[in-house]
């Protein structure tokens, strides 16, 4: 019954980075998801930080390292340090602030350019508790997300709406991507039993080499 009884239970170590304009709710989303906390007066993020969360999806174990970054344009140059080696990115805008939605587009462009299609993208319109002040229409955002191959969610970290779903969906897609990369590698070298594929660690073997950040 326990997942460990299954033939090859796997642990996926995924790195997820949150990007977006300042004050759109990146920290609040992570804190809501990982610690189920919400603080209206949360201070601005000046230095990247990360929280971890463990998930079980089917017979897969997922270790998420969720990176929260500083949003202000002036700190933009630090972005690459935190999004490199990411398996997924959550690009967040504030539904009441159209500028923040435009910033999401910039991030998408940058990520596509730097990381290609290896990274799974999720776009979030946060602060749905402020529906009355909405400035970004759902259709516009969904259309845009589709056009860049991202999924789109609407959340309210404050009311705990839609937050869990974002991470679950992203995790599923990252697993699919890892499986795909796995299969590609196996196809390339069919003779070798692929053991170290992407960021998958087989539990039966205690790896001899330390796992470097992100993937092995």
């Amino acid at each position: 019954m326990a997942a460990s009884a299954v033939a090859s239970p796997r642990v996926h170590d995924f790195k997820v980075v949150l990007l977006g304009e300042g004050c759109v709710g990146k920290t609040s989303l992570v804190l809501r998801y990982v610690e189920n906390k919400f603080n209206e007066k949360h201070e601005s993020t000046l230095q990247a930080s990360f929280l971890t969360k463990k998930l079980t999806i089917g017979n897969r174990r997922v270790n998420l390292s969720i990176w929260d970054t500083a949003g202000q344009e002036r700190f933009h140059a630090l972005g690459p340090i935190y999004y490199r080696d990411s398996n997924g990115a959550i690009l967040t805008y504030d539904i009441t602030d159209d500028d923040s939605f435009q910033k999401v587009k910039n991030w998408v462009k940058e990520l596509k350019k730097m990381l290609g299609t290896d990274i799974m993208l999720t776009i979030i319109g946060n602060k749905t508790d402020l529906e009355k002040q909405r400035n970004v229409s759902v259709e516009t955002a969904e259309q845009y997300a589709e056009s860049v191959g991202a999924t789109h969610f609407q959340t309210s970290a404050k009311l705990n709406r839609g937050v869990e779903e974002v991470f679950l969906d992203l995790s599923r897609r990252m697993i699919e991507q890892a499986d795909k990369q796995d299969a590609e590698k196996r196809a390339l070298s069919p003779s070798s039993r692929s053991t170290a594929a992407g960021n998958v660690v087989l539990l039966e073997e205690t790896p001899a080499a330390p796992i470097k950040s992100g993937c092995c």
């Binding site: 326990a2 997942a3 460990s4 642990v11 170590d13 300042g22 004050c23 610690e35 189920n36 906390k37 007066k41 949360h42 201070e43 601005s44 000046l46 230095q47 990247a48 930080s49 990360f50 971890t52 463990k54 998930l55 079980t56 999806i57 089917g58 174990r61 270790n63 390292s65 500083a70 202000q72 002036r74 700190f75 140059a77 630090l78 340090i81 500028d99 869990e164 679950l168 660690v201 539990l203 039966e204 205690t206 790896p207 001899a208 080499a209 330390p210 796992i211 470097k212 950040s213």
Partner: protein, 635 residues
Amino acid sequence: MNSELEKPEVTVIKCWDAVNVLMPKLAHSAAIAVPEKVIGSLSVVSKERLGTSLEWSPWKEALLSEDGTYAEQVNCTMFSTKTGSYRIPHVSIDIEDVKCFKVHGDEVDGAPVRLTFITNDGTSHSTLELDDMGYQELIAFLQERLMIERSVKDPHLCLVRDRRGRQRRQDLYDIPNQSAHFLQRFAKSPVTTAFLGLSKVHSMLMTAVDVLAPPMMEDGGPHGAMDTHRIPDFQLPPISMNNLQTTSNDDQDFEVISIKPPLELPPRHTVHRRAPLTATEWKSFFDSEGRITDEHAAEVKDIVFRGGVDVSLRKEVWKYLLGYYDWNATMEERRGKRELLAADYYRMKSQWSTISPEQEKRFSIWRERKDLIEKDVHRTDRNHPFFEGKSAALKVMNELLMTYCMLNFDLGYVQGMSDLLTPVMVIMEGDEVDTFWTFCGLMDSITHNFDMEKLMKELDHLSTLMKYLDPSLKRYIDANDPKLYFCFRWLLVHFKREFSFEDVMRLWEVLWTGRPCKNFHLLVAYAILDTEKNTLVENKFSSTEILRHINDLAMTINLEKTLELAESIYLQLIGAEELPSSIRKIIGLPIRQESSSENSPSRSSREPSKATESQRLNKTAGSPGAFEDHVFESS
């Protein structure tokens, strides 16, 4: 909720009553009195599918007896009274995730023991306090499941090793059955295992190293009286490795050791701090017309560097330290200057406050800045009583930042500025003009931080200092985060987020004295890294874990000790025989011609006749020299 995330079945394996958790320090003093520690129970819990974990939660009875109510939340209990509320964090640590734990203080028989667990992702969990017996039991329990070893370099640090005897790096959910047996076998004879490994190291040392570090430790360590018997079976190995540096070699099951070149640094002096500047002392420095002479100003700065300023005097002394008041101006002159500056402030304020909505529509740069400021004002130090729910104070904060924007339009508004403003606002009790101009003085000294390139340069300087002071730490950091991004926030807002509001005010006034050298804040940063070195290196923290650990240090760093250490390090630097010009430049010492040969540091050609920097400074009668006399008296 999703069925995939349903709650697992839970079995309690073991339980210790009356275990305290030390409450995290609050950034701001709150109206509600937060206890130093909270009593509760610690248990070992087995969760279906999720393995075994250590769980702590507070005693509800103890909370009920207080004059308040509590509410259970996911990872914490919120305790509220009429005056406010605080969060009691629960502890939940998967045993397989334990990377190391720290045993605090000197372990004295019979006294309660404080323990901080650090897990694989670098998280430091709340500190637990157990009685002696509970502690022994807990350790014995952990030893059944984990291979634990005392760190060679820091006897307060206990490291969890994997079955190959290496420090754990990897986060595994559960270890399959075979390896669990394997682990248990190791756990039964950890000494044999540990010493087997160490004997390899030792024999290698004997052949590779001519001079072995002295002397054998009788009962447990370089800390002498500190007993280590309380972790049974984990005696320190009988060699001091302080002078050795180790490099991990993952292909072998022991570490390769090479000799670290001894630094040309004198030993660290102990320095002592003093009480803050008192009102009587302060008054004594003024002449009849309200002037403070240069000599007296130097004396004030010496005192403030050593002990800070009494809270009641900050409002006045900060104006001098931040250059709003001139030390040698008369009371009359100060009054005149203030009038001019007040007019100047209101002039700049009117420049933005008269922008009409029509203008604003076509003034996007301005609008952007206004929005940024607006957002930050609402989330800066909102738990401080001065800003808590007070719209008047928030309005002033907003106006001050907007006006600063007009003064320094090229710089604009950068996040972090509001953090720098709040302490000044609190001390100036909201007086707009005084706050504005003292804040400008503060910004003048730190404004380069808001230019990313210049901030990166600061990080470089810190790295240079580290390279000189501790090459092995530098090498370790270089392999993980060579740019020291984990210190970004420290430098950006001068540790504002790392210390409580009260401590930050103390730290800043010390830094504003410009003593004992240029860039003393970098030595403060280095001092914190020096204190954390063992934890970072012995745990083999990767860049993410380092960042996590450094972020977790916030509100736990002892300011006075850090300042003492930073000063000792400064004394070491100026006591060095050949200080490279790169270091001299950073700490603002004159660059001498003869030191240009630093690129070929030939230790053998050391000239014993050369005076050390401290001797040199003592000879010159400049202000740092006068200050040095003072320094050495106290050490």
